[in-house]
Each structure stands twice: as C-alpha cells, then as structure tokens.
C-alpha cells in the first residue's frame, strides 16, 4: 500500500489537503446556517430592533427648537441668561422672522407645546403671538403699499425685483440655505425647481429682504403649489424692506440701487422716511408681556441644542436649571415615586407568585404522572386564556358589587354597607397580576423539580433528618434554579405590565408603563415617554442578561 508510506498532509479524494477541505466544508455549513437565519434576523431588525433604537434616539432628540427658531437660536446664544435682563433687539428681530414663517407653516404651536413641558405658559404665548404676526410694522406695510400708487402691491413686480431681472446671475447659495431651513422646519422635502432664484445683487444689498422673500417663495411654491410670481408677498417681506431701509446706511443703499423696480422702491423708501423704525422688542412685549420674561427666554436657550438630556432629567424628577441639573419642585415630583412603586409592586407580585407557585409546582412534580397531567390543565388553562378575559374576570370578582364582596356579605363577614374596596388600588393590581403571572412561575419551577430525584429526600430522612431539615437542606437548594428562573421571568413581565394595572389599578395601583402610555397618547410628550421607556428597558435588559446567565435563553420552555 503506497498510502502508508506517503509523507506530507493527508489528501482528500480531489487532491486538496484534507484539512483545507474540512475547513471549507465547515465554512459552507456556517454560511448555510446563517443564510437560513438571515431573513428572520433582518425581519426582526427592521420591525422590532429599529423601532426600539428609534425610541432610544427620541429620548435625547430635541431638534424642534433649533428647527423652528433656527435664527433666534443663533442670536440667543450670546445672551447671558444670568444677567437678569431680557435679550436685546437682535434676538427679537430674528424671532420675528422665525416665528412668521413658523406661523405660516403652523409649526409654532408644536414648538409651544414642546416648550410647555419645561415651562408652563409658553404654549399659549406662542399660540397667541402666532396669530398677531401682522401687528409688526402695520404702518410701514401700509406706507409701502400706498407708495407710487400701489405699484408695490403687484406680485409680478416684486418677483422681478427679487430675481434681479434676466441678466442677474442669481444667488443659489442663499436659495440652498433657505431650502434646508424650510425642510427642517416643516419636515417636508423642499427639493425641485420652484421657479425662483434670488438675485445676486439684491441679496447682497438687502440680505434680510432677500431671505424673507426666498422663504416666502419656497413656501408658496412647495407647500401651496402656487406660482411665485403670481402671489402677493407676505407682510414679513414688507417689514424686512422697511427694516433695511430705515437701518443706518439704508438710505444710501436704496439711493444706489439700480435694479428692477428701483423707482418704486425709492418711492416707498421716501414714504417710510417719516415713520419710526420698527422696534421688534416693543411690539412683542405689546402683544404679550411674557416676552420680556427672563424665565421663558432661559427655557428657550436651555433647550436650543439639538440633543438634550432634559427628558431623562425629567424622568427622574429633575430639570435643567440655570446652572446644571436641579430637582423639580416637590409638587411636580412623580416619576421617582412611580418607579419605586413599580419596583415594589413587582417584587410583591414576584414574592406572592413564589409563595403560591412553590407548593403547586412541588405537588405537580411529586404526584403520579396521570394526576399531575390532569392538574396541569388547571395551570395551563389560565396560561392560555386571553389576558383580557382574566383581567375582566378579576374586575368581576373584585368590584364592590362583585362576587367576592357578595360572598363575604352573604357569609356575614362584612356588612352590606361596608363592602371592601379591592379594586382600583394596589391590592387589586397585585391580586390580579399574581393570578395572571402565576403560571409563568409554576412552569419553570415544575420543570426543575421534575429533575430532582425523590430518593435524595428519602436518603436524608433515613439518615435521621426531620421532614423540615430534609426539605430545607436537601430539596430546597436543588429547586433554587427553578425559583430563580421563575422569579426573573415574572419580575420582567410584571415590571412592564400595562393592561391589567390600567383596568384594575385605579390611580394608586398604576405602573410606569401606564405613564408611558399616557405620554404617548394623551399628553403627546413623546420625548419623555421615550426617556421613561429607555430607563425601563435598561432595567429589563439587565434582568434579561441575568436570566441568560442563570438559566440560558435556550432553556426557555413553554408548556
């Protein structure tokens, strides 16, 4: 046999070394396994993991302030919140232009709602101011419109002025900048040709006017789907013009202007000559004196970054103060209490599940198979029954005119007029949830206890142990893994429960989940809901990790 004398690596049938051939086969096997798993993994990532990640992101995201008041946020940066004075005219000026566009896009109320979570009263401030944006420079607008026999009322003329005529190169930079600003503000795509490019000359001479008109043009073309040249400009365009002309050096600028509509604009500038320059600050304060309030400005400044820890601070009863995090006022502190209560009640529920589950699991594991299987039905039937059926059953049982109270009254243990209050409080939640989660405790305990050899107990007794010693020193330690598995499972499930506390918990027996649901669907404070959810998720994942270490996820069994 020549094979036996051959030196070097062993070869497989096709001549490649066996080692490499085996490695390839192993690799093939791994790839095939991964290919089988891949569709599901992608599915879960898309439908489940991504949404969770989105929630985590939302808990720190705070773009709305910077998106809605893009200019104000920048000018406000320089304001010293500690100075005790309201910001200067420049801030109010940028606030006017930001708020004007936001009010047209109906985004200012959203911002108001957002800031109202941090400072009560801001919502109505934004809402009422949004309605009164026409108050700014009323006389100025009128003067411009009346100048040169109303020529500046003409939409087409404005369009020509702003594009700077056919010879103008056009300022695409400005258009691009305003495009992205509008896109952030409304959340819509602002791409495509809008049939307008601001003129290079005019945007250099009157930058504020060009910005205001470009905003208008973008909004009209994209949001309303109209032709820019046919629409009358917003008041903000007139205000911008008045502001530029009346600013120091404005007179020279207008005199030197030679582009389209120069005559009309100069006439308008002349009409403006005897009017006071517009004071944005004064007008804002006239609309609502809260605009002078330092606290409001401080809130806007604190929440102007695009990411904030504010929601997390809020969910542990703190807030962003002037110098870092500080505790909320006593009467606003609810979440720590709620977290504590959730923990405490989950512990009580887990404890009562252990107490009730252990004897049942023991008897199921020690009875003859046939009887045990029959009794197992009593455990599995609740397990398989709809959660809402069980919750409604507990509502029927526990309410004041319910079955338990009726029986107690009939037995004479409780007077008819002193029926026990067992629902809409913590007791109701604990009883109902213990019942609902009990099978989750019994099943893991049972599967562990089944593997404990009964002869150990007999051996202990024959060596002289009492019943109790035999149980406590021999049986119980072996059943601890079952208790651990069941407890973690029940605790994880109970900590995030929503339906049962909502129905039988009243106000005192609700969990953190109910608060999360409230913030999602009623108060619409999604960021706070996401932050609360993130904290809850962190706790659950920690427990999940512990469960994996102790029990192993592979060993989860159902029924």
């Amino acid at each position: 046999m020549s094979d036996t004398t051959q030196s070097g690596p062993v070869l497989s049938a096709d001549g490649t070394p066996l080692k490499r051939s085996l490695a390839r086969a192993l690799r093939m096997q791994k790839v095939r396994a991964l290919m089988l798993i891949a569709p599901l993994l992608i599915f879960i990532l898309l439908t489940f993991i991504l949404p969770i990640a989105d929630m985590l992101f939302r808990s720190v995201e705070n773009r709305i302030v910077a998106d809605t008041l893009s200019e104000t946020v920048v000018t406000l940066e320089e304001w010293d919140a500690m100075s005790g004075d309201a910001p200067g005219e420049a801030v109010y000026e940028s606030l006017y232009y930001d708020l004007f566009v936001a009010a047209e896009a109906k985004e200012h109320t959203k911002l108001g709602t957002r800031l109202n979570y941090e400072q009560t009263g801001i919502s109505s401030l934004f809402r009422s101011s949004g309605r009164k944006m026409d108050d700014f420079g009323e006389d100025h607008v009128e003067a411009i419109e009346d100048a040169s026999d109303g020529a500046l009322k003409d939409a087409a003329l404005w369009y020509e002025i702003m594009t700077g005529g056919s010879s103008d190169a056009g300022n695409t930079e400005l258009l691009k900048a305003q495009r992205s600003k509008m896109a952030q503000l409304t959340g819509e795509g602002f791409g495509g040709d809008i049939g307008f490019v601001p003129g290079a000359d005019i945007s250099e001479t009157f930058p504020r006017l060009a910005r205001a008109y470009t905003d208008f043009a973008l909004f009209v073309a994209v949001m309303d789907g109209d032709v820019v040249a046919e629409e009358d400009p917003w008041e903000s365009v007139f205000v911008a013009f008045a502001q530029e002309v009346q600013a120091p050096g404005g007179a020279e600028k207008i005199a030197g202007y030679t582009g389209p509509g120069a005559a009309e604009l100069q006439a308008a500038a002349a009409a403006l000559a005897d009017l006071e320059p517009i004071s944005f600050k004064q007008t804002f304060v006239d609309i609502d004196e809260d605009w002078e309030d330092v606290g409001n400005w401080r809130t806007i400044q604190t929440y102007s970054p695009k990411y904030t820890s504010g929601y997390f601070l809020n969910s542990i009863d703190m807030q962003k103060g002037v110098d870092g995090a500080e505790a909320r006022p006593e009467n606003q502190q609810i979440y720590i209490t709620l977290f504590k209560r959730t923990m405490f009640m989950s512990l009580v529920i887990t404890g009562s599940c252990i107490l009730l589950g252990y004897p049942v699991a023991w008897i199921l594991a020690n009875l003859p198979t046939r009887t045990a299987n029959l009794l197992m039905i009593l455990v599995l039937l609740p397990f398989w029954t709809s959660l809402l059926v069980r919750t409604s059953a507990w509502k029927v049982m526990l309410q004041q005119q319910g079955v338990i109270n009726d029986v107690l009254v009939w037995l004479g243990l409780v007077a008819d007029d002193a029926r026990l209050v067992m629902i809409n409080n913590q007791f109701g939640t604990i009883v109902a949830m213990t019942h609902i989660l009990l099978p989750f405790m019994i099943l893991p305990m049972y599967s562990v206890m089944q593997t404990i050899n009964p002869t150990y107990l007999r051996a202990a007794k024959s060596l002289g142990a009492t019943n109790w010693t035999a149980f406590w020193r021999v049986y119980f330690p072996q059943s601890v893994p079952g208790i651990g598995a069941g407890s973690i499972l029940v605790f994880i499930l109970s900590i995030g429960y929503y339906i049962t506390p909502e129905i039988v918990g009243g106000t005192k027996g609700v969990f953190i989940s109910n608060r999360i649901a409230y913030h999602i669907s009623s108060s619409l404070n999604w960021g706070l809901a996401a932050a609360l959810g993130t904290i809850l998720l962190a706790v659950v994942l920690l427990l999940y990790w512990a469960y994996d270490k102790i029990v192993g996820i592979d060993n989860v069994k159902l029924g």
């Binding site: 192993l26 096997q29 791994k30 095939r32 396994a33 290919m35 089988l36 798993i37 569709p39 599901l40 993994l41 599915f43 879960i44 439908t47 489940f48 993991i49 949404p51 969770i52 990640a53 989105d54 004897p359 049942v360 008897i363 009794l375 009593l378 599995l380 039937l381 398989w384 709809s386 959660l387 809402l388 059926v389 919750t391 409604s392 059953a393 509502k395 029927v396 309410q399 005119q401 079955v403 009726d406 037995l411 004479g412 019943n467 995030g496 429960y497 339906i499 129905i503 649901a517 999602i520 959810g533 809850l536 998720l537 659950v540 999940y544 994996d548 996820i553 592979d554 069994k557 159902l558």
Partner: protein, 391 residues
C-alpha cells in the same frame, strides 16, 4: 393499593374531628344568620353526634351517605330555597364522605406506615393549601362563564340567577355580540390580522430555527438573544418604539403595520417551540436522504418537515394566540380601522359598558381550551415520534 394496614377509629376520635369540622362550617352559617357563636356550637354538636353514631354503622356507609345528602339538601331548601339546597346537598355529600373517611381510617391507607400523626395532618393540610391555590387559579375563569348568561346588564350574579330561575338567564349578550357591528368588525379584524401574522412568523421562524439548530452557528447566543427579545421587552416599550418608528415610515394605522408588529411579537414563540423539537432531531436522517439522492429542498419537505411539523404547528398556535390576544401594540400601532377583539374588550372594560364582554370572554375561553388541547396532543405526538415519552 394500601401501604398501611388500617383499623377503624374509635367513636370518640371520629366525633372529635367531625365536631371540629362542624364548628368551622357552623361558624360560617352562623355569621350568615346573625350569630357566629351559636352556629359554631350547634355545628360542633350536630357533626360530633353524627360522627359518634356513624362510626358504629360503617357497614352501611353507602345508603347512609345518600341519606345525609338528602337530609341536608331538604334542610337547605327549607332555609334558603334553591341556592341553599345546592349548598346543603354539597355539604351533606362532604359530611358523609368526611365522617366515613375518618372513621374507617382510609386517609391513612396510602401513606407510608412510619408517618407520625403530625406528619399525616401536614400531608393533608398541604393538599388543602394546594387545592386552594388551584381554586385561585381557575375560579376567575369559571366565574365569567355563568355571568355571561346574565339576563340583566350587570357584572354580578342577580338573585334570579342564584335561584336558578330560568328568567335570570338569557343569551342576549351573545346575541348582542353576534349582531353588534362594532364587535363583528373587531372579530373580523382579529381574524384578518392574526393568521397573516402567524404565517409570517412561522415562515421566517421555522427557517431560522433550522438554521440555529445546525451544529456550527457563529454568534449563536447573540442571535438567539435578539430573536427572543420581542418576548422579553415589555410590550409597552415595543408599542412605543413601533408607534414612533412606524409613524415615521407611514406604517402606523395600517393593516400591514399591525401584521408586521404582531409577526415580530410571535416569532420568539415559534423559535422556542421549533428549536425544542429540533433538539431531538436525528441529523443522520437528512444525510441518509442526501445519500439516496434527494436535494436539500426534497429532504426538507419529505424528511425534516414531517418530523418537526408538530413543533411548527404548536409554535404557530402560540404565534396565533399572541396576535389574537394582543392589545397593547395594536392600541398604538393600529388605528380605528384595525380595532381587534381585545381592543374592543379593553375599551369596554375601561368604560364598563355591558356584559357582552363576558360573553366574548366565554367564547375566547372556549377557543383557548381548543388550542390548549391541540398543543398538548401535538406535544405528546412529537415526544412519541422521537421516543422521548414512555407511553
């Protein structure tokens, strides 16, 4: 089979135990009638006397037990009409059985002979405790059923119902369920969403479970952790995340969105049950099939599939019931157009509108009994196929 030879007890012992039981019952009946102490004394005396007398008549146990049952039933009827008669009969049956059980020492028969009386007492007390826990487990589900036949719009037992008066019972809540548009729409929605979600989770889940049970899978633990996570993450968090994300991509409030969400929630159950079935799967079978010329697809459908089918079906049933019972996620991800049965029940419970909920609950309990039976049968069949069960 008797482990311990027993002899009849003395009349005094039986009388004492029976008197104790009588005192307990008497206390309840007594407080119900106004005087606890009197009830206690009367109960103790009556049962004690019965115990004393009956110990001598063990040979005629059967007719005597019937007689006691009858007497107590009649007594009950005279005191409180129909409901009391049922209670009386039950009490009579129990008393008769209990006295003879004590008197003949039958309770000792099946226990090891070396147990002390204290241990015997503990043995039975423990069973009573376990019995009470089983009662706790099952009562809420049983209570719902008769209440769903209530003729009134109450969530409680009316006096007519307790008298077993046919007028107190009706099918009106079932009729309401079958004729009310809201409920029918909800049922229809549930039936439209659950099977679709089940198909998705079973399809993806079975493939992945087969992949996971291969001998060499890289990152097996991490993958498993991700795939099981929808079961572990609290529903409210899944719901919140899905609500935020699905509204971003326009799936919120659509049929597809709810189906995808429910499919994700059902997948862990499919993975768990199918991998459990695959643990006992003999991989030499696929190799044998390949050896005889079958391609991977043929092998899968003709060899592997029939063997793991029970696991796949019970995983599918789990996924189905998950979707069919699910309310939190659909509450957020769905809109009024996807209102499912549990959602409708949830609204009904919060606003407490009518016992139609209880009729629906009874129907759902019926469905879950069917599903439970199917899963249990499948599990046994699968164990038998793999030779893991002795039967």
């Amino acid at each position: 089979m008797a482990l311990t030879p027993v002899q009849h007890q003395t009349p005094a012992f039986t009388a004492a135990v029976a008197a104790g039981a009588g005192a307990l019952f008497g206390l309840f009946v007594g407080t119900a009638q106004g005087s606890g102490i009197l009830g206690l004394i009367v109960g103790a005396i009556v049962l004690g006397a019965m115990g004393f007398v009956l110990t001598g008549m063990i040979s005629q146990a059967k007719p005597i037990r019937w007689a006691i049952l009858g007497i107590f039933a009649v007594l009950g009827f005279l005191v409180g009409g129909m409901p009391a008669m049922v209670l009386g009969a039950l009490f009579g049956w129990f008393t008769g059985w209990f006295i003879f059980w004590i008197a003949t020492s039958s309770y000792r028969k099946r226990l090891p002979p070396y147990l002390t009386p204290g241990q015997v007492l503990w043995h039975f007390s423990f069973r009573v405790i376990c019995g009470a826990i089983f009662v706790f487990l099952i009562t809420p589900i049983l209570v719902v059923m008769p209440l769903s036949f209530n003729a009134e719009n109450f969530f409680t037992f009316t006096p007519e119902m307790l008298r077993f008066d046919p007028a107190g019972y009706s099918l009106k809540h079932y009729r309401d369920f079958l004729s009310n548009d809201g409920w029918q729409q909800a049922l229809w929605n549930s039936l439209r969403i659950a099977p679709m979600a089940t198909i998705l989770s079973v399809g993806f889940g079975t493939l992945a479970a087969i992949g996971l049970s291969q001998p060499h899978v890289p990152f097996r633990r991490a993958i498993m952790a991700i795939l099981i996570s929808p079961m572990i993450v609290p529903l409210i968090i899944s719901a919140a995340g899905m609500y935020f994300f699905y509204s971003r991509i326009g799936l919120q409030g659509t049929y597809m969105g709810v189906v995808l969400a429910h499919a994700a929630l059902g997948i862990p159950f499919v993975i768990i049950t199918v991998t459990a079935t695959l643990v006992g799967f003999d991989h030499s079978l696929t190799r044998a099939a390949a050896n005889m010329g079958a391609g991977p697809v043929t092998t899968f459908f003709r060899v592997q599939m029939p063997l793991i089918l029970p696991g796949v079906i019970s995983g599918g049933l789990f996924a189905f019931i998950t979707s069919f019972d699910e309310v939190v996620v659909v509450l957020f991800v769905g809109s009024a157009g996807q209102k499912t049965l549990p959602w409708q029940m949830f609204i009904g419970l919060r606003e407490q509108i009518s016992p139609t909920i209880l009729a629906v609950a009874t129907i759902l309990v019926g469905i879950s009994i069917c599903l439970l039976t199917t899963v249990e049968l499948l599990r046994r069949r699968s164990e038998r196929l793999r030779g893991m069960s002795p039967s």
